[in-house]
């Protein structure tokens, strides 16, 4: 992009596409969505390979699974949802709900899950008849644009409006801000770093952003340790830890600490000594910016160990840092999207939960928390004190938080973090969040209010109790 006229052209195209889109009925819309899902799914392997080649992050097999989530599972989740015209009609309340599109959506997509996020956002935008403009991460342009092109061609094959999907291969920060603040932009779907998400919220355009994660996983002593550790390993190692809902710290009660350690080692965990922890901390954490380093994001344990100058067994796949505190002195207590995890031993249940609170609020408020337990009372207690949109129980957090794989949460690659993450929702963002719902409200008189003597409201002698008695009078 070079000047304002290009931005205006993109927006004009989007507005026009939106106007045309608004005429389509549910059946036509669903045909387009199905075609896009099919094309995305059939290109899942090619796009995964492109993503790994371009970003040098994550694992090919897991990128394929991410593309499957973004296509098959998202489609399965939204295919029967009514998103056009009258979506509910209640005779008793007299309320009829009508789903209308929002208008042009600006989709900022990340480097960690590039093609899957592009396809996911396109599917939910098209399902709701919204034109979408993709702004990919600068380190994942080619694979993201290819995903958008594949989706667009498929959409056109089912007579979707021209320019219903657009993409911007290169976009400076200033141009991004202009796009976000454009008067015709209806919504920003922002997945990316904190700065970008904050910029989206500051643009004046409504935004659905995501917050950062810092997921504590508490293995409570009633848990099946062998199962818990296997689930954590499969989750944390998935795509080399690039899922923002992946576990960042394991917290165990001292009674079961040794068995958890043994099981972690059995499955390829390597417990670092303090010196090794310091060396790894120095490469996975940018102490100047106080965030994880992008150099090690999505890289293997072997790569990180070599970079840090430590020697690990060849079978080691996860670097574990035993820590006794949370905060700046302990860099690995921050979110690290790589196969590196903190490990804490707590004196008892209460101390363990308090530690989880500290970790949860240490950069991950509103995102996700995880617990392994067979004690329902403790699961509920834990959930009550966590500030997390999702508390996943006895499941891998990466696969649990994104929904549709090991639970019935909505399939999503945009995880709302509520006010904790400065977001408007804690939901897994999906098609229903991209609609204006209009309500036809038919006359249904409130009989209680209709019958009460209104002059009583003007009489200071009547307090709330006396008024309520009159209001609720059942003649």
């Amino acid at each position: 992009m070079t000047d304002d006229s290009i931005i205006q052209t993109i927006m004009d195209n989007a507005v026009n596409a939106g106007a045309i889109f608004g005429q389509l009925d549910q059946e036509q819309t669903d045909r387009i969505v199905k075609a896009v899902y099919t094309a995305g799914f059939n290109n899942r392997i090619k796009l995964a390979q492109m993503a790994v080649d371009e970003t040098k992050m994550g694992r090919f097999e897991d990128k394929v699974i991410k593309n499957v989530l973004a296509t098959q599972l998202v489609y399965d989740d939204i295919k029967n949802v009514k998103t056009v015209g009258i979506i509910s009609d209640d005779e008793v309340s007299g309320i009829t709900e009508i789903a209308q599109p929002l208008g042009p959506i600006f989709a900022i997509t990340p480097v960690t899950n590039p093609t899957s996020t592009v396809i996911f956002k396109i599917l939910i935008a098209l399902k709701t008849r919204n034109p979408i403009i993709i702004r990919p991460h600068s380190n994942a342009v080619n694979c993201s644009v290819e995903a958008a092109k594949i989706c667009y061609e498929a959409a056109l094959s089912e007579d979707a409006p021209e320019n219903c999907i657009q993409w911007i291969p290169s976009c400076t920060r200033e141009e991004t801000q202009k796009m976000m603040a454009h008067k015709d932009m209806a919504l920003i779907l922002a997945t990316g770093g904190g700065g970008l998400v904050n910029a989206a919220y500051s643009s004046g355009t409504p935004a659905l952003g995501v917050g950062a994660g810092n997921v504590p996983v508490f293995i409570e002593k009633s848990a099946d340790v062998k199962y818990a550790v296997s689930q954590i390993m499969s989750s944390k190692l998935f795509d080399n830890g690039t899922v923002c809902a992946s576990e960042q710290a394991i917290i165990v009660e001292k009674d079961i600490a040794q068995s958890v350690k043994d099981e972690l080692v059995n499955l390829g965990g390597y417990f670092m000594n303090p010196e090794e922890t310091a060396k790894v901390s120095a490469v996975v954490f940018d102490s100047a910016k106080k965030v994880m380093s992008t150099v090690t994001m999505g890289k293997s344990a072997k790569f990180i160990a070599e970079l840090a100058g430590i020697t690990i067994p060849k079978e080691a796949v996860l670097l574990i840092a035993p820590l006794d505190g949370v905060g700046e002195k302990y860099p690995i207590s921050y979110e690290i999207l790589a196969p590196v995890i903190a490990f804490y031993v707590a004196e008892n249940y209460q101390a363990a939960v308090n530690l989880c609170i500290d970790l949860n609020y240490h950069g991950g408020a509103g995102h996700t928390a995880s617990i392994f337990s067979n004690d329902e009372k403790k699961i509920r207690e834990f959930s009550m004190v966590m500030n997390a949109g999702r508390i996943v129980v006895n499941m891998p957090s990466s696969q649990g938080a994104v929904g549709a794989i090991v639970n019935t949460l909505a399939a999503s690659l945009t995880l709302g973090c509520g006010s904790g993450g400065k977001n408007i929702t804690t939901d897994n963002v999906t098609a229903k969040h991209l609609l204006n719902i209009q309500r036809i409200a038919r006359k249904r008189v409130n009989q209680k209010f209709d019958k009460i003597d209104k002059s009583l409201y003007l009489n200071e002698a009547y307090n709330s109790e006396m008024i309520e008695k009159e209001y609720n009078k059942n003649y």
Partner: protein, 97 residues
Amino acid sequence: MFTLNISGNKKIFTFSTKLDTASCANMDVELMEALGTDSEEVEFDMSGVDYISSIFLRICTMVAKRIGVNKLRVTNSAPGVKKVFKIAGFDEILNVE
């Protein structure tokens, strides 16, 4: 309301279950009296406390100001109480364990 145990230079205050507005009504005066002027180290033992009011938070501030923030430790908080300190930002000022 609270019990006081003295162990060397340390004064340990242990509180009752519910530190609501009513039960904290005169606590500040009584606690300050018990604190005296020469407290080296103070511990608020929150074992068994399941509710704290804003008055109690204020009392924590008063005590911290009187003796110095590093000398006050809040210990054995139940997770629900710990969360109150966390949300209110007190864990950044006080030593909440």
